[in-house]
C-alpha cells in the first residue's frame, strides 16, 4: 500500500529525514518509535503533505501513485489520514459542518453524491459512540475548548467518519490518561481491517499494549535504524533509547 524509498526531507534548510525506506501493506500495523527529534513527526507530516517540508530526494508511493505530487487534500481523498499530534482549534467552524464538507468532498472524488442528511447524522452517531465523544462536542467549533483527551478522541472520530486506507497516528497517546488511551485504542482497533493499514508514531511503548503492532521501527537521526516485532518495543522500553544510540555507536566503530 505504502512504499517509501530512500526519502530525504528538510525544513528551512535543516535536514530531518536522511533516507527512510519503509513498506506498509494492507492489514498491517506499524509502530514508529524513536527519541525526541528523531524525525517521527516529520515523517507523519510529510506523508500527509505538509507544505513547509521540502522533499529533497526519494519517493513515497501510495498504491503505486507518487504521493509527493498530490496536494494534502488530494492525498486525503485518496485515503491518507493523519491524526495530529496537536489538533488545531478552528474558532467558528462547527465540527459537524467541517466533517460534512470533508466527507462530501471525498465522496465527490469517488463519483458519489453528497450523503443525505439523515444518513450522515446516523453515521455521526455511530462513529461518535465508538470513541465516546460527547454529543455537545460534535456541534462545537473544531477542537475549541476541548480537553486534550477530547481532541485526540475527535481525531479518531474523524478517522472513523472518513474511513481512510492508511491512517498515520502522530503521538496520539501523548498526554492521555489510561482511560482515554483505552478509548482511543479501542477506536483504532475497531476500525482496523484487512483492507487498511495503520502507522502508529509514538514515543512510549504503553500504547502498543493496546494497539498491537505487526512491526516496530526505530527512527534515529532521520533514519530507520532497527526493525523488529512487537518485542522490540518492550526491549526499548526496558533499555531506553540510549541503548539504540550505544548499539549504533558500536556498529559505527566496528
Amino acid at each position: 500500500m505504502l512504499r517509501i524509498n530512500d526519502l530525504h526531507a528538510s525544513i528551512e534548510g535543516k535536514k530531518i529525514l536522511n533516507g527512510i525506506t519503509l513498506e506498509v501493506n494492507a492489514g498491517e500495523i506499524h509502530a514508529i518509535m524513536g527519541p525526541n527529534g528523531s524525525g517521527k513527526s516529520t515523517l507523519a507530516s510529510v506523508i500527509a503533505g505538509k507544505e513547509e517540508y521540502e522533499i529533497e530526494s526519494g519517493e513515497i508511493l501510495f498504491n503505486n501513485e507518487e504521493l509527493t505530487e498530490l496536494k494534502p487534500e488530494e492525498r486525503a481523498r485518496e485515503g491518507v489520514f493523519l491524526a495530529f499530534q496537536y489538533p488545531v482549534e478552528i474558532p467558528g467552524v462547527s465540527n459537524i459542518n467541517f466533517l460534512r464538507t470533508a466527507l462530501n468532498e471525498k465522496r465527490a472524488h469517488q463519483g458519489l453524491d453528497p450523503m443525505a442528511a439523515k444518513e450522515f447524522l446516523a453515521l455521526v452517531k455511530e462513529k461518535a459512540a465508538l470513541v465516546q465523544l460527547d454529543d455537545k462536542l460534535k456541534n462545537r467549533s473544531v477542537n475549541e475548548g476541548f480537553s486534550g483527551g477530547e481532541k485526540k478522541r475527535n481525531e479518531i472520530f474523524q478517522m472513523a467518519m472518513l474511513n481512510p486506507k492508511l491512517a498515520v497516528l502522530d503521538e496520539t497517546d501523548s498526554g492521555l490518561d489510561i482511560d482515554a488511551l483505552r478509548i482511543v485504542a479501542h477506536g483504532v482497533n475497531t476500525l482496523k481491517s484487512a483492507e487498511n493499514a495503520t502507522i502508529v508514531v509514538t514515543h512510549y511503548q504503553r500504547l502498543l499494549d493496546y494497539i498491537v503492532p505487526d512491526f516496530v521501527h526505530v527512527l534515529y537521526n532521520g533514519k530507520i535504524v532497527k526493525t523488529g516485532s512487537k518485542e522490540l518495543a518492550l526491549e526499548l522500553e526496558e533499555k531506553g533509547y540510549d541503548w539504540i544510540k550505544q548499539e549504533l555507536g558500536e556498529e559505527i566503530q566496528a
Binding site: A48, G49, K50, E51, K71, P72, E73, R75, A76, R77, F81, L82, F84, P87, V88, E89, I90, P91, G92, V93, N97, F98, L99, T101, A102, L103, E105, K106, H109, S141, V142, Q158, L162
Partner: protein, 410 residues
C-alpha cells in the same frame, strides 16, 4: 478655493434640482461647510472627491422591490425605491406609528449634527423619510423591515429616519440596502434614534449595493437611562461605504452594543467610524468589528470612546480584527479612547493578520479543497459577529448573500 466652491455648488445643485428645502437653517449651514478633503482627520482614509466630481440626480423611477424581502420573515414592511417611500405597512396596533416623515414631527433634527456636511445636505434636502414611534411599554411583536433599493443611473437617494421608542418600548428593525443593477449611484442616509428610559432597540443593517455604489450612512443615537441599543452593521457589497455611528449615552445603566462585519473584495472601500459618548455613570458599551479584505479592497475602522468626567463605573470594550487575503488589500484601524473619569474599565484591541496556516492545513488534510477551507474559515470568522443577529431568518438571509457574493458552495 474658488474652484472647490464651484465644485461644491455644482454638485449640490445637481442633487437638489427642483427641490425646495425643508430647513432654511440647514441650508444656511451648508454655505459654511466644505466637503472633507485629505486634511480632514475624520475622513483621512476615505476620499469623497471622486463622488463630488459626478453629476447625480434624483429619480422618480421605481425599480421592482418584491424580490428583496427577507424570505420567511414576518415583518412590517417599509420600502424605499430610489429614495422614495413607496410602501409603508401601517402597524396593526394603534400604539405604533409608522408614517411618512414630516418637517413638523417633534424631535426631528434634535440629534443630527449640524457641522457634518453629508448630514446637513440630508437635513436640507431630504426627499424621503419615515417616522417610527412606539408608545410607552409597547413591544413590537414582528420586526420592522426596511428595504432600500436603488438603480445604477447616477441616482441620488436621500433617506431620513426618525425612530423614537418611548419608555419601556421594545423593537427590532432590519434594514437592507440593495442595488437593482450595477452602475454608479449615491445613497445619503441619516437616522435619528431616541431610545428612552428602559427601552430596547435592536437594529440589523445589511449593506449589499453594487460595486460602483456610494453609500454614506450617518446614525445619531440618543440613549436615556436603563436603555439598551444594539446595532449590527453587515457590509457585504458596495463601492465606497462610510458608516458613521454616533451614540450619546445620556443616562445611567445603559447597554450599548455595536457590531460590524465587512467582507470586501475587488476595489471596495468600507469605512466604519463609531463614536460612543458616555455622559453618565454605570453603563456598558461593547464593540466588535471584524473584517476580511481581499484583492485591492481597503477597510477603515475608527472607534472613539469618550468617558466624561462624571461617568464613573463605565465598562467600555472595543475589538477590531481583520484578515487580509491578498497582498494588495489594506486596513487602517484606529481606536481612540478619551477618558476623563477615574473609575472605569476600558479596553481596546486591534489585530490584522492572515488566515492561520495550521488551521488551513488541518482542513485540507481531511480532503477539503483550498477554496472550501477558506469558505469554512471565513464563515467561522464572521460567526463571532453574526451570532449577534438573533433572528434566524435574517441570519439565514445574510448567509445566503454571503455565499452568493463569494461563490461559496457550502
Amino acid at each position: 478655493m474658488g474652484e472647490a466652491l464651484t465644485k461644491k455648488n455644482r454638485f449640490l445643485s445637481s442633487l437638489t434640482e427642483g427641490n425646495s428645502t425643508h430647513s432654511y437653517a440647514a441650508l444656511k449651514e451648508l454655505e459654511h461647510l466644505d466637503f472633507p478633503n485629505r486634511k480632514t482627520e475624520d475622513w483621512r482614509y476615505t476620499r469623497v472627491a471622486p463622488l463630488i466630481n459626478k453629476l447625480l440626480r434624483q429619480s422618480a423611477v421605481r425599480p421592482e422591490t418584491e424580490n428583496f424581502y427577507i424570505p420567511q420573515l414576518q415583518s412590517h414592511k417599509i420600502v424605499f425605491s430610489n429614495g422614495n417611500l413607496i410602501k409603508n405597512e401601517v402597524a396593526d396596533n394603534n400604539r405604533i406609528t409608522i408614517k411618512k416623515l414630516e418637517t413638523s414631527d417633534l424631535l426631528l433634527n434634535s440629534q443630527a449634527s449640524i457641522d457634518e456636511i453629508f448630514t446637513t445636505i440630508n437635513t436640507a434636502y431630504t426627499h424621503g423619510g419615515i417616522y417610527i414611534h412606539l408608545d410607552k411599554n409597547t413591544i413590537l411583536e414582528k420586526p420592522i423591515e426596511i428595504i432600500h433599493l436603488i438603480d445604477g443611473q447616477n441616482t441620488f437617494a436621500q433617506i431620513r429616519k426618525l425612530i423614537v421608542l418611548e419608555q419601556g418600548a421594545e423593537a427590532q428593525i432590519v434594514e437592507g440596502y440593495y442595488s437593482s443593477e450595477t452602475g454608479l449611484s449615491f445613497t445619503n442616509a441619516v437616522s435619528e434614534i431616541i431610545v428612552k428610559d428602559n427601552a430596547k432597540l435592536h437594529l440589523d443593517k445589511i449593506q449589499f449595493e453594487s460595486e460602483e455604489h456610494w453609500h454614506i450612512n450617518s446614525e445619531y443615537v440618543y440613549q436615556e437611562s436603563n436603555s439598551n441599543f444594539t446595532i449590527n452593521t453587515i457590509t457585504l457589497n458596495g463601492g465606497t461605504v462610510r458608516n458613521g455611528l454616533n451614540i450619546s449615552v445620556d443616562g445611567n445603566n445603559c447597554e450599548t452594543n455595536l457590531n460590524g462585519l465587512y467582507l470586501l473584495k475587488g476595489k471596495q472601500h468600507v469605512d466604519n467610524h463609531t463614536k460612543v459618548d458616555h455622559k453618565q455613570p454605570h453603563c456598558t458599551s461593547s464593540e466588535l468589528y471584524k473584517g476580511m479584505i481581499d484583492d485591492q479592497a481597503t477597510g477603515v475602522f475608527n472607534g472613539k470612546v469618550f468617558v466624561r468626567e462624571d461617568a464613573q463605573k463605565i465598562e467600555a470594550f472595543q475589538q477590531n480584527s481583520n484578515i487580509l487575503l491578498s497582498e494588495n488589500a489594506s486596513m487602517n484601524a484606529k481606536p481612540e479612547l478619551e477618558i476623563y473619569a477615574d473609575d472605569v474599565k476600558c479596553s481596546h484591541g486591534s489585530t490584522t493578520g492572515q488566515f492561520d496556516d495550521e488551521a488551513l492545513f488541518y482542513l485540507k488534510s481531511r480532503g477539503i479543497s483550498e477554496k472550501n477551507a477558506h469558505a469554512l474559515m471565513a464563515a467561522g470568522f464572521a460567526e463571532d459577529v453574526l451570532v449577534n443577529v438573533t433572528n434566524e431568518f435574517i441570519k439565514l438571509h445574510i448567509n445566503k448573500l454571503l455565499k452568493e457574493r463569494f461563490n461559496w458552495e457550502l
